[in-house]
Subunit: 282 residues, 2 copies
């Protein structure tokens, strides 16, 4: 049984915004995550749960302070889970040198290459280890789980949904890295975490995955047209073409004037939470 | 005419969240502030404006990322103005040494004591200099202005309203420092900014001011019962007694379980914005 330590718990919209830490086997060190319990869950009633995957440079706190999600989660009775974006303090040379690789840039996959493979196992961490800890400590309805995220976390949401459709029944993304094999962020991460084997890369590229194994879930994706990373890093048009080809249900909404920030995320967060609540029967 | 430089402008809830900087006479250096323009103001239509005064350690960004206010301001058509909490980089020895005095702790008054009096003139800055800059550069309805804030900024909102009722027609506060002459934060600030003259202190203490000159505006005040600063620093009971004695209209709401953080602020921000909109005829 994993020991869970409460870092803090604060009242928010009559629910509880908490931060917790625990020793992690998958990441070889201590990990911190956040959970928002809506008022409906405080009496122990089992509620649907949606996991938020944050982007490069973010921590478990980012979404809890910047997205305005608790208001809507409290209305809908959704539990929110916010993992960290990578291991921290693994002690690997260079892990803190880049904003787009190493710490705060785990890319939600299990590294196969030394020296990263011992700690950088965020897919196992999120989908297995953290999922079990959450199920053991919070009143989730394990049959009603969804996943969403922003930027690198949008990549994580799309790929973890496509790789684990039985676990994550609903999915959505803000400005996701949609074709990581074809952009600098993805190539840097895949080369260093996975080596040069392109077949391994394909297992973690949403545009490749959706061609190989589309899901039944309708994907909601929001993207700002003034996003500074749109052309070089995000490439929603590649993912859209792959969805069409594969018959994947999706809705890609392009928004004039919006950029890559949480001012964009907070604008559309209610739509995403309602999308998950509807899909999960909340 | 003051030169206003745009630092950034980002789309948010179909309005614009902007940051601006300018040389300040009152503060003897460059000052940064934030403005949120709701969609109704983008065509130039004049809209009511509410100024938010932040607390100790905060910047103009704090409220814009943590309060979830833009969603409601966009619905109500309110312009929001977020000044900084003090001058920055004045070059005064010790100005950055404390979280509760000097930079990020201007207490929304004009200092009379050396070496602070040259730069630390936040009352003149907020009520005159910044107000004129905002009026000249944004489509505000100058007859429909309100003020609100949190903690030290709640103190600022109450005192600046009471000292300038003709300018700020509506007022509200979250966890305000309500009787600064009787708490460590206030005593430290008043002693250093204003000297030992207690009559000068009384001009910036909401509980003293309201006895001397109550206003016609109904004050909305929210306070968490689990606020870690409630007993030592905030003392709403002193202000409440003064309001009763003076016939000041007010509503003090005590909330079980809530602390001093922006998780508390975001929970009740909609009520405050609706309070201002109603008072200002938005």
């Amino acid at each position: 049984m994993t020991t869970l330590e409460t870092v803090s718990e604060q009242r928010c919209f009559d629910g509880v915004q908490g931060f917790y830490k625990h020793p992690s086997t998958a990441c070889g060190g201590e990990m911190t995550f956040a959970v928002y319990r809506p008022p409906q869950a405080l009496s122990g009633a089992r509620r649907p749960v949606v996991t938020w995957l944050a982007g490069l440079t973010c921590t478990p706190e980012t979404f809890t302070i910047k997205a305005g999600a608790q208001r809507v989660a409290a209305q809908l009775g959704l539990i929110l889970v916010m993992p960290d974006t990578s291991p921290r303090g693994a002690g690997i040379a260079g892990e803190d040198d880049s904003y787009d690789f190493g710490s705060a840039a785990g890319f939600y996959l299990d590294a196969t290459q030394e020296p990263w493979s011992r700690n950088y196992n965020m897919e196992t961490y999120v989908t297995r280890e953290l999922a079990e800890i959450v199920a053991a400590n919070f009143p989730i309805d394990a049959e009603a789980q969804g996943i969403f995220g922003h930027s690198m976390g949008g990549h994580g949401a799309l790929t973890l949904h496509l790789r684990h459709p039985e676990r994550y029944r609903s999915v959505s993304a803000f400005a996701p890295v949609s074709a990581p094999m074809q952009c600098p962020w993805g190539q840097k991460a895949f080369r260093n975490y996975l080596g040069e084997d392109r077949d391994a890369w394909r297992q973690h590229d949403a545009s490749e995955l959706v061609r190989a194994r589309p899901s039944d879930a309708r994907m909601l994706i929001d993207q700002g047209r003034q996003d500074q990373f749109l052309e070089e890093q995000l490439k929603p048009e590649i993912f859209e073409a792959a969805c069409k080809e594969a018959g994947q249900p999706y809705e890609l909404r392009m928004h004039d004037g919006y950029d890559h920030s949480y001012y964009f995320v907070q604008t559309f967060i209610e739509d995403h939470l309602r999308h998950h609540a509807a899909a999960l029967g909340a």
